[in-house]
């Protein structure tokens, strides 16, 4: 598998096929004397800003959400994570907006 072509920036869904974001970054672990190992995929604004520029990334204090590689399955159209999206920080904003803003407007 080509990590950048097949995984990076792909849509990521949870185990119930709910959209939870995109693969914003891939974290590799490098140990001396061993080949690099894919450890996590990352979702979050900080990761995205880091891709634009380190300075922008450093300005964001909110840490990205990491999903261990073992819970990831790379499919043809999307990446599936064996987690429940609503219980992860990936939908933090979505749930906050639902509870505090959008959900309070009549007809939501």
């Amino acid at each position: 598998m080509d990590l950048v072509r097949d995984c990076l920036d792909k849509q990521i869904d949870d185990r119930f096929k709910r959209r939870m974001g995109r693969v914003d970054g891939i974290v590799l672990e490098v140990e001396p004397g061993r080949p690099p190992r894919v450890a996590y995929v990352e979702l979050g604004v900080k990761t995205l800003m880091n891709r634009l520029s380190r300075r922008l990334g450093n300005a964001i204090t909110h840490e990205p959400y990491r999903i261990p590689w073992g819970k990831i399955k790379v499919g043809l159209n999307a990446v599936r994570a064996d987690v429940e999206a609503e219980k992860t920080p990936a939908l933090e904003w979505e749930l906050w907006l639902r509870k505090k803003v959008i959900g309070r407007i009549p007809g939501a």
Partner: protein, 405 residues
């Protein structure tokens, strides 16, 4: 029978997206200033958008993905972020112009200054988004938009000189005001080849659950809808050429718009014009708002669909709400909507390459479109469109400065 109905409805709804304040204004300006001479620009813009919309629809029907989704995936976040920023800024201006168009028609209908209508118009757009489904927006508003056929009837009734109309369909060099001539031509192309149109169409294919079986339907809808839209734009140009040009009247303010139909239909012409412009601007405003929200949600992998309840996709609902507020803030400043329209059309032209270049790669990527990849002819057309887009990008801003007034 079902497919025929679907095609007919699809063509009508595509017209809804094509005809908006930009195409009406630029066509009226072209007719008033250069008689029939700029019909070719509408024809060229129409041909370009037919190909792009067809490809956007084919891509989504076959791959089950939208174009913005694939751009993020294939071109990475940095390119996506650049395209997103450029497109969001330009599209916000276009949306402000469409809201301005709705407000102007309300001013024409009531006599109350357009600025006062900004908040009610923005609220109306938001309410349709909030309560309506994709079908309501796509089909409902577009069916109402059939009233714009009054332009075509008007252009027919007024008996334009056929030879001159046909001659106008072929490109020719200006006899006077060269900079202004090319500026209007560029604005027409900017109004016709609107990125929001093909991005919206691509999302619409997913909302309507198109699959490979729709490739043929898509081709007919894209060709029929965009041709139909171009014909209405040409009708506006013909009316302006017959009514404004002989009197040497410049099209400088929206209040002049009713004069396009009043000489043909009398009293009812006034109200037909108000309804035509109002409904097409409302339809375009809804589609543009949706498109910005789609683009945002698809690029960041959020849940998105106009068919779901707002609370089930809070970020998507927040995106379109914020979009409407920002555009309304531009309109409410009271800047002449005509100026915003003309400026945003030229700016659209300036930013076209970033939106169109990805087509060439995506439409040839087997992993997305499999056997429905572009053939040599479609690729050649896309390369020609990209070349036109690059020329437009280079000349639009200088022309805005030297030929914009």
């Amino acid at each position: 029978m079902k497919k025929i109905l679907e095609i007919a409805l699809g063509i009508v709804t595509s017209v809804g997206g094509f005809l908006e304040i930009g195409s009406i204004t630029t066509a009226a300006q072209a007719g008033a200033d250069f008689s029939f001479q700029l019909i070719w620009a509408i024809v060229l813009g129409g041909l370009c958008i037919i190909f792009l919309v067809e490809q956007a629809g084919r891509f989504s029907a076959v791959s089950g993905r939208t174009i913005p989704d694939a751009i993020r995936e294939r071109f990475g976040f940095n390119y996506f972020a650049f395209l997103y920023l450029v497109l969001a800024l330009v599209t916000l201006l276009v949306l402000a112009a469409e809201i301005g168009g709705v407000c102007i028609t309300l001013e024409l209908a009531t006599g109350i200054h357009f600025q006062w209508w900004t908040v009610p118009a923005a609220l109306l757009i938001w309410l349709v988004m909030w309560k309506g489904t994709f079908g309501v927006i796509e089909k409902g508003v577009s069916l109402l938009g059939l009233v714009t056929l009054s332009f075509v009837v008007g252009a027919y009734v007024i008996h334009p000189p056929e030879a001159q109309v046909l001659r106008g369909a072929l490109p020719s060099l200006p006899q006077h005001d060269s900079a202004h001539y090319w500026f209007v031509a560029v604005s027409i192309l900017g109004a016709s080849i609107s990125p929001y149109l093909f991005f919206f169409y691509s999302s619409g294919a997913i909302e309507d659950e198109w699959n490979e079986g729709y490739v043929g339907v898509n081709r007919i809808i894209a060709t029929g809808g965009m041709t139909f839209g171009s014909v209405i734009s040409i009708a506006v140009l013909v009316l302006a050429a017959m009514i404004f040009a002989p009197q040497g009247v410049k099209f400088e303010h929206y209040t002049q718009l009713p004069q396009l139909l009043v000489p043909v239909f009398g009293y009812w012409g006034y109200w037909l014009l108000v309804a035509s412009v109002g409904i097409s601007c409302l339809g375009a405003a809804l589609e543009i708002t949706l498109e910005i929200a789609y683009f945002t949600a698809q690029g960041f992998g959020w849940n998105w669909s106009e068919n779901q309840r707002p609370r089930d996709e809070a970020r998507f609902a927040a995106a379109y709400t914020l979009t409407i507020i920002l555009a309304a803030l531009i309109t409410i400043t009271g800047i002449d909507p005509l100026k915003i329209t003309i400026f945003s059309m030229a700016l659209t032209a300036a930013t076209l390459p970033v939106s169109i270049v990805p087509f060439l790669f995506l439409m040839n990527d087997y992993s997305y479109v499999r056997v429905y990849r572009n053939g040599w002819f479609s690729n050649a057309v896309v390369i020609v469109i990209i070349s036109i887009a690059f020329v437009l990008a280079v000349v639009s801003i200088p022309l805005q400065i030297f030929g914009g007034s």
